[in-house]
Structures are given as structure tokens and as C-alpha cells.
């Protein structure tokens, strides 16, 4: 039995999936999300599920949570000491993410040669300043650390040796830039390391609380994984040092849910209409698209890899308003739940109730509330409801068109590979989320494309969470002139001989990926590891070849462990 929980903006959804025969939903539930106490939402959802399934049959729980995202959006993060060495280039202060930001002299070049050592005196002064400011978590980032992490390691050693005024270790946690992945992009590395630190304490407290709650509920034996934004999972224990990877995992859960619930072959649009937002994703030839480099958090581009999803402020709980001119608006605000469910302000769900597209909660209350708002603006209730639903589907349609246009104006990456010179032309719409069935016909009329609402549409995100498998990727760099091999995300270094070549590197990358997942308790089929990039360049000095510069990228791509409905 696999459990999946998706803590959303409005609801926390949970499912249990029975894997004994064909994968089937054995139980599902929706509980309100308590924003001040996410743990309560998780335990309530678990309790509801365990009322229907045997807890001893549960082997795995996959959890997607908005905890880190919310903390960042609401600015409830911890101060971070960000210490960088940048060397020449763009002024590093342009990448400054916070006030405790220190640039230390020192330089590493693109080959990983140390051009200039780190200034120990400046570093000491930076640590002193952090101590005075009460900083306890640190990010160490250097330019080209993915080729040679020496400066980041030096910063870490110095920070870890430092003590606070009471003589206790100053640093509770240090993030090293190169461990976030092998991709080149110093400003993104700085931002990612900063965010990783800024939510570290909050996230770890939550994980500890989840662990003890599971223990209390008799689920201590269960393997727990956390959803990532790239459509994969990571083990809970590992997520403790990588909390930034859990950011924006909600939309990924719905996308993976769609993969589990339907067979997608064509270019398609995926709509997940939730309580507060609608997430829009696009599939090219059946595979979801990914952000090229990483998502933006706030105004900071990061290295956090993610499926490409656009969120807009339209959902079942979106408030309906009427402007002075009689123009009806829906969202982006949410003013509490729908009237039919005990709220005070009419919502999209109430409008759908009035039109007979749904019958949620107390339908009469929906009608009364819509009527009151309508008559205040000289409209009839049904007309207002009609306008509101039209407005909602139009907003979703416009945003989708914009997203598709943006995708078509840039080189496109799917989960599998780069699709060159391909235009994405959606041929089908898949709709999931609470209001999916009620919105189906309106969306069909607007898009004029085949529109499908799969079974279990209401908890597709939780299904996605339950069935998502782990992902991992690594980049390997080898430089046979310097006789080095380096895998940044594992901090793995090895000496290689002069005859080391691309085939050796590919083998090593797959081996290291398999071993890494193995150490995380994840068994990998060898064919699940894919080489996504492999290049080897002869390096020449004078007139002779002095070595090879080899780069290999290897990944376990996101996928689900099973699909529903015996397909």
C-alpha cells in the first residue's frame, strides 16, 4: 500500500493505493489545510486514510508540502550568512540575496585551477560579522566550484571551527554550492544555497515532527519520501540537507498524477484547478516540459530543477466581484471558503452550483449569495453566475495560450530530451482538481479541443504524490590533463589516468548514480539511468594534445511506479 499526501493551498489531499494487483485507489480524502499547523493537516489526512486501510499494509508515504514555499513567500525565513568567492566577472554584489553577504578575494577559473587563494583574513572578518549579527546558518559559494570546490570547502572549515559567544559551535548548518548540482551558474548557485539555508531549520523541525507523529500513529516502519519540483521524490532523511528541493513540488504532484491516471501521447495541456489556483502544464508528445535551468523563487532564478508549470489565481474558492461598470471578475483573491461550504463571500464554486454544473455543499446558500451580489449591481443571479464561470474559463484559456506561445518562442526541453525546432500544438486538454468535472464543458467550449476529466480527478495530485518515484541527477567532469574527475553533487573526487575517455566517464556516471541511490535505499534498474549529455574535447597546448575535457550528465528521469486502471 502506497500513501500519497499533497498539502495544498486550500486542501490537503491524501490517497492510499493498493499495489497488490493492478494499482487501484483504496482510499482517498480531502481535509482543509491549516496554514499555521501543517503537521495537523498531515495527521488529519493520515487518520482519515487509516480509518479505511490497514496501517500495517502501508509500506511507503510520499509527501508534498508547501511548507518551504510558504515560508519564503511570507518572508518567515532565517537570516543566512552568505560567503562567496567570485574572482573576475560580473560584480558579485548583483547576486546578493540578503544582508549578511560577504565577498572574499580569491579566484578559480573555468578549468578549476586556483588562480588566487582565498583571503583568510577577509574570511575571518566575515565570520566575525556573522557572529555579531546572530547568524547560525551559512552558505558557502564560489564561482566554478563545480570544477573545484576548494574555496567552498575552505569557507566551510572556517565556519565550522568558529564558536559563538558562549563557546558553542557557531554554525548549525552549512550549505556548499557545489553540492546543489553540477550546472554552471554562479548567481543561481548563490540564490539556491541561500534559500536552502533560509528554510533549513523550519523544514527540519517539520520533518522531526512528522517522524514522531508517524511513530505515534504506528507508521514507524514506513519509508517516507518528499516530493521535489522536478517530478521526483527524495528520501526524507536526505531532504533534511536539501530542503530547497521541496519548493514548488505541489504542481509537480498533479502533473505526475495525470501521468498515472491517463495515457498521454499528444501535445496536451494539463489543468489542475484547485481551491486557490489553477496550475497549467504543457506536455510535448506525451512528456511534460521542464524549466531549462531552474525555477525562480521570488525574483531570484535558482538551480532548483522543476517541471514547467504556470500558476494563476483562479480556483473553486476564488471570490467573485463586480466592478463599477458591471464587469464580473473571478479571483485572484480568496476570501474564505465558498458560501455553500459555510463561507460568506460567493465564489466560483457557488457560481457552478447555481448553473447546476455541480452540487457541492448547500446549493441554496450558493444561490442566495449570488443573488444578493447580483441584485446589488442590477443583474440576475444566473446571469452573474454565467458571467463568472465564463470569466474563469477565459482567464485559464488566455493564460494557457500565453504559456504555449512562450514555450514555442524558446528552445523546448522535455523530460526526455531537447526537442529541436518543434512547435507545441496542444490537441487535448486534461482537467483535474476539485472543480474539474464542473468546469469541463465550459473549458471545452473555450478551447475547442477534446477535454478529458479522468477518474479520481479530485485527488489526482495525491495519486501523483503516491506513485512518483525517486529522481536524481549528476554531472561528471573529468580533466585528463589535471588527472581529475569530479562529481559536484556528491563531492566525489578521484584521480584519473591520461587515457581516461568518454566511455569510461559514462560508465562511472551511471555507477555513481546507482550507488548514490542505493545508499539512499532506492533500488535502481540499470536502464532507468539515462545519459543526457556526453561530450569530450581535446585540449591542445602548442601543437599537441595535452588531455581531454570530458562532461557527462546522467539522470533518473521522473516517472510513476505504476499507472491506475490496469493500463
Amino acid at each position: 500500500m502506497l500513501l500519497g499526501i499533497d498539502v495544498g493551498g486550500t486542501h490537503t489531499d491524501a490517497v492510499a493505493i493498493d499495489m497488490t494487483g493492478d494499482a487501484e485507489v483504496a482510499a482517498s480524502c480531502k481535509v482543509p489545510t491549516h496554514h499555521d499547523d501543517l503537521l495537523r493537516s498531515v495527521t488529519e489526512a493520515l487518520a482519515a486514510i487509516l480509518a479505511e486501510v490497514d496501517k500495517d499494509a502501508v509500506t511507503q508515504l510520499n509527501l508534498s508540502t508547501t511548507l518551504s514555499t510558504n515560508a519564503i513567500v511570507q518572508g518567515k525565513t532565517e537570516d543566512v550568512g552568505v560567503i562567496v568567492s567570485s574572482g573576475p566577472g560580473i560584480d558579485p554584489h548583483n547576486a546578493m540575496p540578503c544582508k549578511d553577504f560577504f565577498v572574499i578575494d580569491g579566484s578559480i577559473d573555468h578549468r578549476g585551477n586556483e588562480v588566487r587563494a582565498l583571503s583568510a583574513r577577509q574570511l575571518e572578518r566575515a565570520v566575525d560579522a556573522c557572529r555579531e549579527n546572530g547568524v547560525r546558518v551559512f552558505a558557502a559559494v564560489s564561482k566554478f566550484s563545480t570544477r573545484n570546490p576548494r574555496h567552498e570547502n575552505t569557507i566551510r572549515r572556517m565556519v565550522e571551527r568558529a564558536e559563538d559567544q558562549e563557546g558553542n559551535p557557531l554554525a548549525d548548518f552549512v550549505t556548499l554550492g557545489h553540492q546543489l548540482g553540477g550546472a554552471l551558474n554562479f548567481p543561481r548557485r548563490v540564490a539556491t544555497a541561500y534559500f536552502n539555508c533560509s528554510v533549513w531549520r523550519l523544514y527540519n523541525d517539520f520533518v522531526t515532527a512528522v517522524e514522531s507523529a508517524l511513530e505515534e500513529m504506528g507508521l514507524g516502519h514506513v519509508t517516507v519520501n518528499i516530493l521535489k519540483a522536478d517530478g521526483g521524490t527524495m528520501p526524507l532523511s536526505q531532504s533534511r540537507t536539501m530542503p530547497v528541493q521541496s519548493i514548488f513540488s505541489g504542481p509537480a504532484a498533479s502533473v505526475m498524477g495525470i501521468i498515472a491516471l491517463t495515457d498521454i501521447f499528444h501535445d496536451s495541456v494539463i489543468l489542475d484547478i484547485g481551491g486557490t489556483t489553477t496550475d497549467i502544464a504543457v506536455f510535448a508528445e506525451g512528456a511534460p516540459l521542464i524549466e531549462r535551468e531552474g525555477i525562480d523563487i521570488g525574483s531570484h532564478p535558482t538551480l532548483v530543477s522543476a517541471l514547467k508549470v504556470l500558476s494563476i489565481g483562479i480556483g473553486g474558492d476564488s471570490a467573485i466581484s463586480v466592478a463599477g461598470s458591471g464587469t464580473v471578475r473571478v479571483g485572484p483573491n480568496r476570501l474564505g471558503p465558498s458560501v455553500c461550504l459555510g463561507g460568506t463571500h460567493p465564489t466560483l464554486t457557488d457560481a457552478l452550483n447555481v448553473l447546476g454544473a455541480s452540487a457541492i455543499g448547500d446549493v441554496d446558500k450558493s444561490a442566495q449569495a449570488i443573488e444578493v451580489l447580483a441584485s446589488a449591481h442590477g443583474l440576475s443571479g444566473p446571469d452573474l453566475a454565467r458571467d463568472a464561470v465564463d470569466r474563469a474559463s477565459e482567464t485559464i484559456y488566455d493564460a494557457t495560450r500565453e504559456l504555449v506561445e512562450e514555450i514555442n518562442s524558446k528552445p523546448v526541453y522535455t523530460i526526455h530530451e531537447l526537442v529541436e525546432d518543434k512547435r507545441v500544438v496542444p490537441k487535448k486538454i486534461y482537467v483535474v482538481g476539485g472543480p474539474a468535472e464542473a468546469m469541463k464543458m465550459d473549458l471545452f467550449r473555450r478551447f475547442q479541443l477534446s477535454t478529458e476529466v479522468p477518474e479520481n480527478y479530485g485527488v489526482a495530485n495525491a495519486v501523483g504524490a503516491a506513485l512518483t518515484r525517486p529522481t536524481w541527477e549528476l554531472e561528471l567532469f573529468a580533466d585528463t590533463q589535471r588527472h581529475t574527475l569530479f562529481i559536484p553533487s556528491l563531492s566525489y573526487r578521484e584521480n584519473v589516468h591520461s587515457s581516461y575517455d568518454l566511455e569510461d566517464a559514462k560508465k562511472d556516471a551511471v555507477n555513481q548514480l546507482t550507488m548514490q541511490l542505493d545508499s539512499m535505499g532506492v533500488f535502481l534498474q540499470p536502464e532507468d539511468a539515462q545519459i543526457t549529455h556526453a561530450s569530450s574535447f581535446n585540449m591542445v597546448e602548442g601543437m599537441s594534445r595535452v588531455g581531454r575535457n570530458i562532461r557527462v550528465k546522467c539522470q533518473v528521469r521522473p516517472h510513476v511506479v505504476a499507472v491506475l486502471g490496469g493500463r
Binding site: 566577472g89 548583483n94 573555468h110 578549468r111 554562479f186 532564478p301
Partner: protein
Amino acid sequence: MLKANNKLGIIFFPAFDWAISPTHPERQERLLYTQDQLREEGIFDIEGVEEYKPDVADIEDVERVHFCFPDVNSVTTRSHRISAGGAMKAADLVMTGERDCAFAMVRPPGHHAMKVVHGSRGFCNINIEAVMIEHIRETYGHKRVAIVDTDCHHGDGTQDVYWHDPDTLFISLHQDGRTLYPGSGFPQELGGPKARGRNINIPLPPNTSDEGFLMAMERVVMPILEDFKPDLVVNSAGQDNHFSDPITNMNFSARGYAALNEMLKPDIAVLEGGYSIQGALPYVNLGICLAMAGVDYSHVREPNYNPDQIKQDDQTTAYIEELCRQLPKLYFDPPAFDPKGDSRQGVISGNQFIRHKQIYYDTDGINEVQQESLTLCDKCRGLYKVETRADSGPLCLGVEIPIDACPDCKSKGYQLVEDGLIKGGYRYVQLINRKDKDYVRYGF
């Protein structure tokens, strides 16, 4: 987050699968570290800086400019056509207004490729700037274009392509031809009789550093540009003047290159040479990108940069000051063409300008002899004809009817081709009719 003052488009085509030979300076590794540096700097995350894919130049895009013998496919690879296509993409971005300026960081380079192409000269097969400029003129109407070639080697190919074109100003700053390949690029090379002063060469002595380059820019290039009033400024951006370049002897720095571009404000920059692939290119290319985008470049600095060590001496400064005094006159008041000079410079016989040329394709080891002629016409810039033979190969004929051709020159052009086919004994004949966009080739 950084924001660019000018919307910059970057076209990156490193041609990671193309090389002249495994250890040749122009090989796969050449733009590898530039790509690393640009990515690591996060330059594509700067608001206003966008990366684009290159287009591929069609056969016709090449035939609009060059007489390729035996044909375009025999003297180019797909990489050459993508490199030219990268420059065309840069032009389209600027001409359509999508970008304020664009930098085509592409290879292989092109500025040694002349009007006639039998093979590769100085690592160049087709002239990617010329293919780009003629694409602009064909697509967006006739423009006055200034090309400022800042490669360390004289841009002899571009000079040859535009020798008779009064609407294209070509200025080349380079290491003195007495000390470096291709051995040309002297001040007296001023353009054909119809385009005197439209070709300006600024030969700089070895060891010229930032001071000398920027002085030549300020005192020679900028006043000429101001007078010429081009619709477009193109930088033929070779980067081998760098102090660390292995095949040249100049002392220019990354920050110097950036300052030059800040002054020049090119609409389009196209990468040419530059073979210090580890110590210079990553920093020079970064500096140029930042300067074009209008972003602070003062933190860009090579690992082994020491301004005192590469400073030019007083004698060099004095020499360049004297050049700066004399060179502007060649544009503003060019000496008249001497019609009875030697045949390598060109002579005038009746209404024909005739010039004999010997060209050596150093990369491919080919010798070419050609006779070029231009009808000196009062109504247009004249009908162009070239007879060429590579080593002891077959004789070939090229005829170009200019974009502003008068009816006489046009019909004479077709007559030349017809005569050539019937009784000329040419193995290949190519006609470029710019006026009617008619490009024909015979002899397959």
C-alpha cells in the same frame, strides 16, 4: 537582479563538431571555455539579455555574395552555413527591432574569405559578415553599412568583397601586415576607383596595448563613422589582439575590448578570430557582451592581467599618434586613383578598370590567379567580371550585375555570361544579378 540598458541578443554556435584539424587553433575546444564562463556568470539571466539559436544560411545566401568554384557545397560544410546563419539571425533580431543589438558568437570565422572562393584562407571559407550584410540589404532594403574589423589580422576578405562598393565603409584595425598574416592592409589600399576612401586600413605596430587601440578608435574610427552616417555599424569582432594570443603580437586586454565596444556601439558584432581559448576568449567575450548590453564590465579581468607588463612603449605611442594624424585624410580627402599604376593595383583601359591578383589559400594550400574588371559606368557602380583559375585547374567566370545597375550594364552582364558559355572555355560560370535577385550557375 541585473537589468541591461540595451536589449542584447546572443547567438551562440560553438560548432562543437567541427575543426580544421585536431590540433589546429580553430578547433572544437575554441568556444568551450567561453560558453562555460558565460553560463557561470549567469549572463542569460540578466533582464534584457536573451540567447537565440542560429539560422542556417541557404546556398542562395552565399551565392548572393561569393563566386564559389566549383560550387557552394564543395567549399563549405554545414558548420560554415550555420556560422553565417548565426550572423544572419543577429541581423534579423536587430532589423526587426526585437533586440537593440546582437552578438553572433559563432565559428568558423569568415573575414579572410574573398569575393571568389576556391577553398579556405586563414581558417575562413565564406565571409559571414558579407553574407549577413547582403541578407540585410536583400530583406530590409539597401542600407549604408560600416564594418569595423577589430581582428588582429587584416580583414583582407571583407576588403576584397566591398572593394568597389561606395555604400559599405570598411575600417580594419590590425597588426601591421609587414609582421603578420595575411601581409596586407596598408593605408594606400583605399578601395576601387568608384569607392575611394571607403576602405580604410589602420595598421598598428606590434605590442600596441589598450592605449593605442582606444586612441585609434577615438581619433580615426569615430570621426569617420560620424561623417559616413551609416544605417548600421557592424563589428567584425576578432579577439586575437589579446596579449595572451598565441599567434599574434599585440597587447590588448579584455577590458580594452569592452571599452572599444562601449565607444563603437555596434548594432551587430560577429565573432572572428581569437585563439587564446583559455586565457582570453572567455573574458573578452564576456566583456564585449556586457559592454554591448550596457552593463558594468569593470570587474572583468583576465587571471594573468598586469597592465604595467603589457603597456606599450613611448615609441609605439608616438608612431600611433602620427598614424592618427595622417589616416583620417585618406577618408575625408582620398588621393585620386592612378589609372596607369601597376596591374596588381589596377589600371584603367578605356572604360574598364582591370586588376590582376594572385591569391594563396594558406589553409588549403591552393594558388589562385584572377583577372578582375569593372565597367566604369556613369549611371551605376559598374558591371563586375572576374576570370579565375585555381592552380592549374579549369578557368571559371563570375559576373555581378550591381544592385543599382543601369539597363546597359545589366544587358551587358547577361551578354558576358552568354558569350562565356558559348565561346569562353570556362568550366564554371556564375552570375550574380543583385538588381533582379537572379542567381544562376552553369557547369555542373
